[in-house]
Amino acid sequence: MEGSSLVIHVRAQGHLKQFRPDKQERFSLELPAEATVRLLIEASGIPWDEVGLVAVNGRQVEESQVLASGDDVMLMAPMEGG
């Protein structure tokens, strides 16, 4: 429906890009209005449990976060230790 879809810019850090069809780290997704982070992850093709942390516009968010058009989303793999 015109005017009700969102364009979201995504960066999949590290190995998460391997789950994308073109293996590109940066991509955009068009999602329906009121789409959540969870829906974005599902639409991206990246397995949900591979994603350790999500940031929208530089801030960590929960997966229930509702997105707005133009949002920058960063998907990061879980990482512990070192």
Binding site: H9, R11, Q13, G14, H15, L16, Q18, R26, D49, E50, G52, L53, A55, G58, R59, Q60, D72, M74, M76, A77, P78, M79, E80, G81, G82
Partner: protein
């Protein structure tokens, strides 16, 4: 009687540096099956042989080098060994693990462990080759940094494949957090094991070996390794791509990144690049150009500083020029970074891991990745733990900014957060105990704080006088509990990371833990999760293999059976870990480290002033209640943490009662 158990040589070497005696022991099947290796061997020998109350830097302390059933076998993660002694930093049980190639080489040289006792009158190193051991003069090595020392030993024997576990100048000068490193970029980092080695006038242990012990079922080991290199590969792909450093930015966003002496958990930056596209996005640049690091942290809930030092930036900027792996491992999580005109970095020392980035970088207010890479190299060359060193410098910077350390004691150094010049200079002074500030900080933040009173002590981020690694108890409350009860003081290597179990608990299913819990939960259910995980970690550090490899508990059980020929079970293996946990606790109790030392420092009980977790501190009443639950779960008295008789029966540790309440004999 020859050893029936496979996977071991059945031989433990003992070198007395006072007398020069070199002896061999063959402790038999029961010993191997009960203690397995690594921390199991270390806790056993330290409890039996190190007199209570002895000076950790005196000849009565003993230094134990230990491999395990899995060390050196041809599968990913097996390139690990452990080293332990009474810690000069904590005064209690000390031990750490390292990867690389030394453990494999030592095992191939014909021994399962090496106990070093006494102290040499002059610098020496131990040379081990295919079952033969010699004490060699090290006068020409003493004072050398790690790379030239390793090269000199290889040249001396005309063998470039020698592996050398060694101390640098920091160990020689008995810095209380000096490391024992191998392959120049792997470290037994925590607890000052390098200072113990230095106190014995021992520069290093050089190994060359060609024979692994027989294993029971090599076919299974090779098949499992093939699985990890193919189907299992996707499970560790992220670690290979960005290394542990890849977690830095996310860590800041969670409020987990140690920043400015753990006062903050997020690291705003100055002039950060845009998150998308090449040109900086002006709307997203932190307005912190004119602010001090402290002011920036107080006013900006952003992460530009973290973004400048994270693993993704390391890759994007070309600073990352290669990756390296340990023996038999294809993960290649280790970084190799570039040299530049500003900072000449020798790639042989590797690049910074997450711990070094967090502790030397954000914790000291430094957001210059190349500078952090250079500091990482200097710490490697000098042989110092980047965790305790970064925490101690960060502590000194906060104390200096608050006027708790008077100017005259700073010996001309402008120890402000983010001052790279002073930060690099103080590293050198600490390693050589040069001048009053170098000598002071070489003893760690807690002891240095004692000179300046309770307010300075309260800012020391320690448990049992050992500094916290780069993981934040205010984010992961279960990890905080783990720090409190750890036998080595604040330590993440046998701990629990709550954030890994908030969505699912799959790795813990074999132990019957099925319910995910929030990271800030401190219920008895969380204490159970921590207790089970910690005991499994103690087993992992006994077996000994790398916990970055996603081997399941069932697979590890199969690997141990294939190596040893035991028809073992997960039950038996986790009991080994539990035994190590309880035995190391008994060691600490004998040294006077009671439940009174099982507590977090005030900093972590205090709420964050700003950032993603503004207002959040570790609730003291809840974490103390969780400690009671943890004690009870381990079969220790819920109030005093003293293991009950029932638990000693359970773990076959009743022999330890013969050594109570204390040892007064020297040998």
């Amino acid at each position: 009687m020859p050893l029936e158990t496979k996977g071991y040589h059945g031989k433990i070497a003992r070198v007395n540096l006072t007398t020069g005696a070199i002896t061999m022991e063959e402790p038999g099947d029961e010993f191997y099956r009960t203690y397995v290796g690594g921390h199991g061997f270390i806790s056993y020998f330290l409890f039996r042989e190190v007199p209570a109350g002895c000076d950790p830097l005196g000849p009565q302390n003993k230094l134990v080098f230990a491999t395990g059933a899995l060390t050196g076998l041809p599968f990913a993660g097996s390139g690990r060994h452990a080293i332990g002694a009474k810690s000069p930093l904590t005064g209690g049980y000390g031990a750490g693990e390292a990867g690389g190639f030394w453990g494999n080489e030592f095992k191939r040289a014909g021994f399962d462990a090496l106990i070093v006792e006494g102290a040499s009158a002059k610098p020496v190193y131990i040379w081990i080759k295919d079952g033969e051991i010699a004490i060699r003069d090290a006068a020409h090595l003493w004072g050398l940094e790690c790379k030239p020392a390793e090269q000199a030993v290889r040249d001396e024997h005309n063998d470039q494949r020698i592996r050398f576990a060694q101390i640098g100048p920091a160990g020689e000068n008995k810095v209380l957090y000096a490391t024992i490193s191998n392959d120049l970029n792997e470290f037994v980092g925590r607890g000052g094991m390098g200072a113990v080695m230095g106190s014995k006038n021992l520069k290093g242990v050089a190994c060359r070996g060609t024979k692994l012990p027989d294993v029971a079922d090599m076919k299974t080991i090779l098949e499992m390794n093939k699985w990890m290199a193919t189907d299992g590969k996707k499970l560790y792909a992220g670690l290979g791509e960005l290394g542990t450093a890849g977690g830095t930015l996310g860590s800041s966003m969670q409020g987990n990144l140690p920043t400015l002496n753990f006062r903050f958990g997020h690291f705003p930056g100055r002039g950060l690049p845009a998150m998308h596209g090449d040109a900086p996005d002006q709307d997203r640049v932190d307005a912190t150009e004119t602010l001090s690091p402290t002011e920036a942290c107080l006013t900006a809930d952003t992460h530009g500083g973290a973004e400048k030092i994270t693993g993704q930036t390391m890759k994007d900027t070309g600073f990352l020029i290669g990756t390296e792996g340990c023996f038999a491992c294809g993960v290649k999580c280790k970084r190799v970074v570039a040299s530049s005109d500003r900072y000449r970095v020798d790639p042989d020392y590797g690049g910074p891991e997450y711990e070094t980035i967090g502790m030397m970088g954000s914790n000291c207010g430094v957001d210059d990745l190349e500078a952090v890479g250079y500091a990482n190299m200097r710490l490697g060359a000098l042989g110092m733990d980047s965790v305790s060193c970064g925490a101690t410098i960060g502590w000194a910077m906060e104390c200096a900014e608050k006027g708790l350390i008077p100017q005259e004691d700073l010996d001309g150094l402008d120890l402000r957060f983010g001052n790279v010049e002073a930060w690099l200079e103080v590293i050198e002074r600490i390693a050589y105990r040069k001048g009053p500030i170098g000598n002071l900080l070489a003893d760690g933040s807690y002891r240095a704080g004692q000179k300046y009173g309770p307010e300075a002590v309260a800012l020391a981020p320690v448990v049992k006088k050992q500094e916290h690694p780069a993981h934040e108890p205010r984010v992961k409350h279960g990890l905080g509990l783990g720090y409190m009860v750890s036998p080595t003081g604040a330590d993440h290597m046998h701990n629990f990371h709550d954030t890994g179990y908030t969505k699912r608990t799959t790795p813990l299913h074999p132990l019957g833990i099925t319910k995910p819990l929030p990271a800030n939960d401190l219920s008895p259910e969380k204490a159970r999760m921590v207790a089970y995980t910690v005991n499994w970690r103690h087993f992992q550090n006994s077996a000994i293999y790398c916990m970055f490899l996603p081997w399941t508990m069932e697979q590890v059980t199969d690997l141990v059976s294939a190596a040893t020929g035991w028809k073992t079970s997960l039950f038996e293996l986790i009991k080994v870990g539990e035994r190590v946990n309880t035995l190391s606790r008994l060691f600490n109790l004998r040294e006077g480290l009671t439940h009174e030392t099982d507590k977090l420092s005030k900093r972590f009980l205090t709420a964050f002033e700003s950032g993603p977790l503004k207002g959040v501190g570790v609730p003291e009443d809840k974490v103390m209640e969780a400690r009671r639950a943890y004690y009870a779960l381990n079969g220790w008295d819920p109030e005093t943490g003293v293991p009950t008789d029932g638990k000693l029966y359970d773990l076959d540790l009743t022999w330890t009662k013969r050594y109570e309440p204390s040892l007064s004999s020297a040998d």
